[in-house]
Amino acid sequence: MRIDWNAVMLTCRLALVATAALIVIGLPLAHWLATTRRGARALVEALVALPLVLPPTVLGLYLLLLLGPRSPIGRGYALLRGHGLAFSFEGLVVASVLYSLPFTVQPFTAALRSVDPALIEASWCLGVSRWATFWRLMVPLAWPGLLAGVVLTFAHTLGEFGVVLMVGGNVPGETRTVSIAIYDAVQSLDYASAAWTSLGLVLISFIVLSLMYVLQQRVRVVSQWATRS
């Protein structure tokens, strides 16, 4: 039995980088979705939710065409970095960001929407800038929901398979993630490695989700206590 630790490290790295990128992209997008009254909002929300319903192969195919050597993006990147985006770690990051987008933006939007608009408007009327209102009022109040978004994004990226297989292939040390390593081990008839690695993934996912729920519970208790006193 061999557990592919390279794949484990690579998957953690991918999930961390993708989650960080999605926090940066997801916060402003969710803020816009939570506060705008424009008609375009419905279209943007639908676009964000698309990866939830599309088969990973569809997303993978478009990404492959978009990142591959025949597209301007792929060629431009190859000129800059000396290698293409498809079948590289950077390509996987791009793919994961798109694939996990709804898992970040939807909880973020719901959390920001749950903040009482009266408080936000009161803050603005008191002359606090939109930027400061966002960071000092909305983010602290929406904290449990934002945390849920971050954790879901991380956990979802850990287990992604179809898109990774299409965009990343199965390059050891570069794009062979844990889920691909499990698939590979099964084809090598190495059921023991596949089963142990799978068990590890189940445990990590369970621990991460439990941590989130425990933290959320504590945040809720603290905020209840704070409003009572």
Binding site: L16, A86, F87, G169, D184, Q187, L189
Partner: protein, 263 residues
């Protein structure tokens, strides 16, 4: 919270650094046809014993899928196809170095049944395929796997009706077809001799070679793609595979040597 964030950032920064290669060893990334799944491990070990400078890392798949990956820029240093036609196509499209095209072996097709199956007591591939117990046949997907095409041709020339719905179970590649029959999901499998001779399959089943006249020869060939990052390493390993030492290992896995003809 702040310390937690800080340590998370530290972990990210540390892991973002490229993983250091083990003591100056050069990695050679090989895209290998699935029939090589076990054979290449043995070959790579023998190669590493002679050339400790290199470390072979293999990625397995159906030859057609690997071709598609390389055409889209996957960074492989050597492509070992189960069908030399795919390797030739890379050369024709200017995505591989023409002088590196080589035949490394001829592959063989076998009919495999699990040892616990009553079919294992029968006396030959024709008898097994005609037995009502052999309802589902696992083969590799003929669309992009050379062994799948060989299997379809063999079934046709042995007069087995494979058009009936649900008779054929398609694996993405020949190793997955082997896994289907090994796990009992399919009754029999048409797989490569190299997989049937590999330790995990050898212990668990029985196989018969399909006579060569029943399917077109499986000429396995390789080439060094231009998209690789270590073409020199790819060439070195290719040259070693074509040498007597390389063939000695491949022959243990049932491959036959093809006398040097101009590909």
């Amino acid at each position: 919270m702040r310390t937690l964030l800080r340590s998370a950032i530290a972990v990210m920064a540390a892991s973002a650094a490229p993983t250091a290669p083990a003591a100056d060893r050069e990695t050679v990334l090989v895209a290998a046809a699935s029939d090589l799944r076990f054979a290449l491990e043995g070959t790579a070990a023998a190669f590493a014993a002679q050339q400790p400078r290199y470390e072979i890392k293999a990625s397995y798949g159906a030859s057609g899928s690997l071709l598609a990956q390389i055409e889209n820029g996957a960074p492989f240093d050597l492509f070992l196809s189960a069908d030399i036609g795919y390797a030739r196509r890379l050369v024709e499209h200017g995505q591989a170095e023409a002088d590196t095209l080589f035949v490394y072996a001829r592959g063989h097709l076998v009919l495999w049944v699990p040892a616990r199956s009553p079919l294992a007591a029968l006396c030959g591939p024709e008898a097994v395929l005609r037995d009502p117990g052999a309802r589902t046949i696992a083969i590799a997907n003929p669309e992009h796997a050379p062994y799948g095409r060989a299997a379809v041709a063999a079934l046709r020339s042995l007069g087995v009706d494979s058009t009936e719905r649900g008779r054929l179970v398609l694996g993405e590649n020949v190793a997955q077809a082997a896994q289907f029959v090994e796990s009992g999901a399919a009754d029999v499998g048409l797989i490569s001799l190299s997989l049937a001779l590999a330790p995990p399959m050898k212990e668990r089943g029985r196989f018969w070679e399909i006579p060569q006249y029943a399917y077109p020869p499986i000429e396995q060939g390789g080439v060094v793609p231009t998209s690789g990052r270590n073409s020199a390493g790819g060439r070195t390993f290719a040259a070693w595979l074509a040498s007597d030492a390389g063939h000695a290992v491949l022959e243990r896995f049932g491959f036959t040597r093809v006398q040097a003809e101009h590909p």
